[in-house]
């Protein structure tokens, strides 16, 4: 079934490519997160819609793992905000998509929030506690890294799979002691009797770098390269707005994400949003066809996931190099 869909689209794409390259897709299924990021500006103001020239079906997800399942099943064409950890897993497992751009380098923006009342001050204090995180996400990846670095197992610490919304509800009921997640859920936990338990320095130093990315189904990209470039161009505009008019940007983002502009602004300040031009350098994704340092980050991420038995085998460095396609990015940044 999925084979038929892919073959059909590839076939249609070939025809379309031969004929009118500029023909927009009939409809695009985009998976996204409700999060405090400039992407919400481009979504809210219709820039993505204009840039792609097509009807957009927005599918809200709670973790990158859902994006992997959806693209593998052929239900979604583009995933915005998928983390580096699920992307590494996806490329290793042969999900037919390509990494086309970065949103941000995460750093402290995803972090462990602990309940003040739980009195967690050191790694050992986590024993017997309940920590929630969306499985298959970058937060999950960081949490697993944290446990590994501190010699804790999932028999010592109860790890629960929860989407960000569910986590907030569980926190309010007093069901969980800690949560590893991103904004806006993270801010809500902090506001409700929570405090930061800082793990990101330890993890970044140990190589557990995480980033948020944009992926596109390979067949879709082959068929509609212009639409993909338009998407990235629209994102670039949103990023510029954040850099130049942060207050206005925060207002729109806050409205889209359901938080106050002040919270939105504070959340966004924690991210390192890498500009399009910088993404094309060797430090990140690299110019088209050449690859960059980020391939190595994905490889190390995949290797860790194999250690964790989360995936069976990690792709080679080439898998990630070939899995990155920055052609559309180069066009958008131009």
């Amino acid at each position: 079934m999925h084979l038929n869909r892919r073959t059909f689209i590839a076939g249609a794409g070939a025809l379309a490519a031969g004929g009118a390259r500029a023909a927009p897709p009939p409809a695009v299924n985009i998976a996204y997160f409700v999060e405090t990021k400039p992407t919400m500006i481009a979504k809210g103001l219709g820039w993505f819609q204009d840039g792609m020239g097509a009807k957009l079906n927005w599918v809200e997800v709670g973790s990158g793992a859902e994006i992997n399942t959806a693209i593998a099943a052929g239900s979604v064409d583009i995933g915005i905000g998928i983390g580096s950890s699920p992307t590494a897993a996806g490329l290793s497992q042969g999900i037919p998509y390509k990494l086309i751009g970065m949103l941000d380098n995460i750093g402290p923006a995803e972090e462990m929030t602990v309940r003040k009342a739980a009195r967690i001050k050191s790694p050992a204090d986590f024993k017997g506690k309940k920590v929630a995180t969306p499985f298959g996400s970058t937060s999950h990846f960081r949490l697993l890294g944290f446990l590994a670095l501190n010699h804790l197992t999932q028999a010592d610490v109860t790890v629960l799979d929860m989407r960000p919304d569910a986590m907030v509800a569980a926190w309010q009921r007093g069901d969980i002691d800690a949560g590893y997640v991103w904004a806006p859920a993270k801010s809500k936990l902090l506001a409700d009797g929570g405090e930061v338990y800082s793990t990101y320095k330890e993890l970044d130093d140990a190589g557990y770098v995480i980033a948020d990315l944009i992926v596109a189904r390979s067949a879709f990209m082959a068929a509609y390269p212009d639409a993909v470039a338009g998407l990235l161009r629209a994102y670039g505009r949103a990023l510029d707005m954040w850099k130049q008019k942060p207050t206005d940007a925060a207002m729109i983002v806050g409205q889209q994400a359901g938080v106050s502009p002040a919270v939105a602004e504070a959340d966004m300040k924690e991210y390192d949003f890498v500009p399009l031009q910088t993404q094309l350098t060797d430090a990140w994704l690299g110019p088209p066809g050449k690859g960059g340092k980020f391939d190595g980050v994905l490889k190390r991420t995949a290797d860790f996931l194999v250690e964790q038995k989360s995936i069976r085998a990690a792709g080679s460095l080439d898998t990630f190099r070939n899995g990155t396609d920055t052609n559309a990015l180069a066009r958008a940044a131009a």
Partner: protein
């Protein structure tokens, strides 16, 4: 004239055909398998996945421990729910007033999708074991009650009259006539109940768990670890069959007079 091949041959042929299709779709030929192993792992991957799970467990706990967690919950929920339900049903069969009082609740609870009130139970009791066990208790209760009630009602009037005529007390009538007669329906209800409880448990572990077979499949599924997911499904299926067959075995021992 029909062929004289025993049916077993047909079963074997069907199994072989299925295996052939499976192997054919997943054979790693020169162009790779017809269906990616992400979607359908082959027999080899399944077997190595099973060995993996059996030897090093899943996420910090041995496979048997996960199986044990699930089994514990099923037995706890089924045990309490079926016993209380049966007692309630027997009482309802005897006392029409009790029946009228309790029926509305039993009849409302029975068709109510269990996962819907799991959500409410979680809001009330949190995500721990309590909400799951209470859920399973409530899942088993109405089915057992209805079965026991039917069992009492279907007792033959003649036998009861004879027992009375012979001077038996109410309790003796119950113990020696009504209860044995109702047992086969009670067991039918029990088999239905354990099926419902088992299905509800796996669903509950998938939606709100941190241990157990259902949770294991969820976690593996999040990473598209299809080999583990398949192994998990097979184990879950076999465990379900085991539970059902155990009940049938117990029924045969206890209700050895069925049909007489």
């Amino acid at each position: 004239m029909r062929t004289r091949l025993p049916p077993v041959i047909w079963a074997a042929a069907s199994i072989c055909a299925l295996l052939a299709v499976w192997i054919g779709l997943t054979w790693n030929g020169s162009h790779g398998p017809v269906v990616q192993d992400l979607f359908l792992p082959g027999p080899g991957e399944l077997w190595s996945g099973f060995l993996d799970l059996a030897s090093s467990g899943y996420k910090g706990r041995p496979l048997l421990v996960h199986i044990g967690f699930s089994l514990e919950r099923v037995l706890a929920g089924f045990g309490t729910g079926a016993v209380v339900g049966t007692v309630l049903g027997l009482a309802m069969g005897y006392a029409p007033r009790l029946d009228a009082l309790a029926s509305p609740f039993v009849e409302f609870l029975r068709p109510l999708p269990q996962l819907a009130y799991l959500v409410l139970l979680i809001v009330w009791f949190g995500i721990g074991e309590e909400s799951k066990i209470i859920l399973l208790f409530l899942a088993a209760l109405p089915v057992s009650a209805v079965a026991a009630r039917a069992g009492v009602r279907d007792v033959s009037a003649g036998r009861v009259q004879v027992a009375r005529a012979l001077g038996a007390s109410e309790w003796q009538v119950f113990r020696h006539v009504v209860f044995p007669s109702a047992l086969s329906e009670i067991f039918t209800g029990a088999r239905l109940a354990i099926g419902i409880v088992y299905g509800t448990l796996i669903a509950a572990e998938i939606i709100a768990g941190s241990t157990g077979l259902g949770w294991m499949i969820l976690d593996a599924g999040r990473f598209l670890r299809s080999d583990y997911v398949f192994v998990g499904i097979v184990i879950i299926g076999l465990l379900g069959i085991l539970l059902d067959r155990s009940l049938v075995g117990i029924e045969r021992r206890v209700v050895h007079w069925a049909g007489k």
